[in-house]
């Protein structure tokens, strides 16, 4: 893609009016799932969702967990950008007393699991709309890899970035949605669920 076209594409991404309704629904769904799952993990009453100043940044935080939801009709890459102290803060109190290395590894596994749960929720919503998808395994890598991940933007991909904040902690979440078969998304609809999820603990 020529450089000027790329710039236009990014600008279009930032301009919500230019995004197709189906993509908007998907993006809202992903945002809502991330808010719901992380609110449960953070064990606080309020997690706020905020927009991010630079939605096309090289890096958002030191670590990045990501997972792919993929099917014949669409592909979704979901990422959580975080640092170790935030990941550790999400661990249950039962992990206190373990060695620092063990806590760190558990925290990484915990964030992987958050990714898995969010992607699982997305899959459930898509399945209810007769959209068949599968999940990749969640991985954790350095946040700097985002510079490589988002280096090339295809016109068919729609990016979204948002921040979730609670107390002094925060994570940045991002999604890249690529629709392969628009006709398959006819039944897609999404309404934010009001009821709280079951309390769960990652061990």
């Amino acid at each position: 893609m020529p450089k000027s076209n790329k710039a236009d594409h990014i600008q279009n991404q930032l301009n919500a009016d230019s995004v197709p309704l189906e993509i908007k629904i998907l993006q809202q769904m992903i945002r809502d799932k991330s808010l719901k799952v992380l609110t449960r993990s953070a064990k606080v009453s309020t997690v706020t969702m905020q927009e991010v100043a630079n939605r096309d940044d090289f890096v958002y935080d030191y670590w990045m967990a990501f997972i792919m939801v993929s099917g014949m009709s669409l592909r979704i890459m979901f990422k959580i950008h975080f640092n170790t102290s935030t990941a550790v803060s999400l661990l249950p109190k039962s992990s206190i007393g373990r060695s620092e290395d063990e806590v760190r590894r558990t925290a990484m596994d915990s964030i992987r699991e958050q990714c898995n749960v969010i992607a699982g929720d997305i899959k459930a919503s898509l399945t209810s709309a007769q959209i068949t998808v599968g999940l990749s395994i969640p991985l954790v890598t350095k946040g700097f890899d985002e510079a490589v991940f988002n280096d090339k933007l295809d016109e068919g991909k729609s990016c979204d970035v948002w921040q979730l904040k609670w107390g002094s902690r925060s994570v940045v979440c991002s999604s890249v949605v690529e629709v392969l078969e628009w006709a398959e998304l006819e039944n897609l609809h999404f309404e934010a669920e009001a009821e709280p999820l079951d309390d769960g603990e990652f061990l």
């Binding site: 890096v59 102290s85 991985l139 954790v140 700097f144 490589v148 280096d151």
Partner: protein, 306 residues
């Protein structure tokens, strides 16, 4: 059909879904292994003793290893988004920006290497650093150029050099080294310039500054050995020791212009600097023996200075 395939078939597990699931599991395991390998490689970079960072053109740090983070008084996780330029004084920052500008303007430049001191945050202590900057070309310049910075603390080396220079400036001996090309190389003691009555000896040959001006005081054997001096380079140590016996050990240097004083008698000793069993360089120690030689000549009734 192979035995293994028959075994699966006999258990009724030859459904396509089973094969797909097995393939997925295998792929997952490979990806997870690659994740661990990448993490291991990152750890090597993190623990490098030299500092390594990647920044934007305006100095915003996107990635830094432990050494770089410590210099920024931070840790590898929280150093992200801090500004590398804060380590430099205004003058040095201008130099750094100029180097970055040169690097980014000239696509043919692979990397630039230069020395620039930093001011340690809080303590304000200065350290000499050797910097190597290059473009981080693994990503496009869609969002601006990224720069890879490698820094090596050379303060100790520079301090050692300063001390060595002080010694070489003060010592009343001529110490000079001839390199593999037969040329005098820096550093040499300042006293050499006084003894040989010549300035800026670097790059000159011994024939130009020592044997030539003393040619008249050498006998035929010494002249022959002096003219073949550079052939001693590359010899093994035994051959060198034999050959150096023929070299002039005491020469009289005529000082031009004569206003610089009377001719001087110099004692010369030759010391091989050996690498892998071969003479790589030759160090000469020159000593002013004029007083001794003239005293000897006076007692022998010979004319002084001739």
């Amino acid at each position: 059909m192979s035995g293994a395939a028959r075994k699966i078939s006999s258990k009724g597990s030859d459904k396509p879904e089973v094969a797909v699931a097995a393939g997925l599991r295998a792929s997952h395991e490979i990806v997870a292994a690659l994740e661990r390998c990448k993490s291991s490689s990152e750890l090597i970079l993190d623990k490098l003793p030299d500092l390594l960072l990647i920044m934007t053109e305006d100095g915003r740090i996107l990635k830094a290893n432990i050494a770089a983070s410590e210099l920024m008084k931070s840790d590898v996780e929280h150093v992200i988004n801090e500004n590398f330029f804060s380590l430099f004084s205004r003058e040095n920052l201008n130099s750094l920006k100029m180097q970055i500008s040169v690097l980014l303007k000239d696509a043919s430049l692979g990397q630039l290497r230069f020395e620039l001191p930093i001011c340690h945050l809080q303590s304000q202590v200065k350290s000499e650093f050797l910097w190597t900057i290059s473009r981080f070309s693994q990503v496009s310049d869609r969002r601006g150029q990224l720069i890879e910075v490698v820094g090596k603390d050379v303060s100790t080396i520079r301090e050692f050099e300063r001390k060595l220079t002080q010694v070489f400036s003060a010592i009343p001996l001529g110490i000079v080294t001839v390199n593999g090309h037969g040329k005098i190389e820096w550093p040499y003691s300042s006293y050499c310039e006084y003894l040989l009555a010549k300035h800026q000896l670097s790059g000159k040959t011994l024939q130009e500054v020592l044997f030539g001006p003393a040619w008249g005081s050498l006998d035929a054997n010494e002249q022959e050995a002096a003219s073949r001096f550079t052939s001693l380079l590359g010899l093994d140590t035994v051959s060198f020791d034999k050959a150096k016996a023929q070299l002039p050990r005491e020469v009289q240097i005529n000082r031009r212009p004569e206003s610089l004083g009377n001719p001087k008698w110099l004692g010369i000793s030759y010391h091989p600097l050996v690498s892998e069993g071969r003479v790589e360089k030759i160090m000469l120690i020159l000593e002013d023996r004029s007083a001794v030689v003239e005293a000897q000549r006076a007692t022998q009734g010979k004319p002084v200075g001739g």
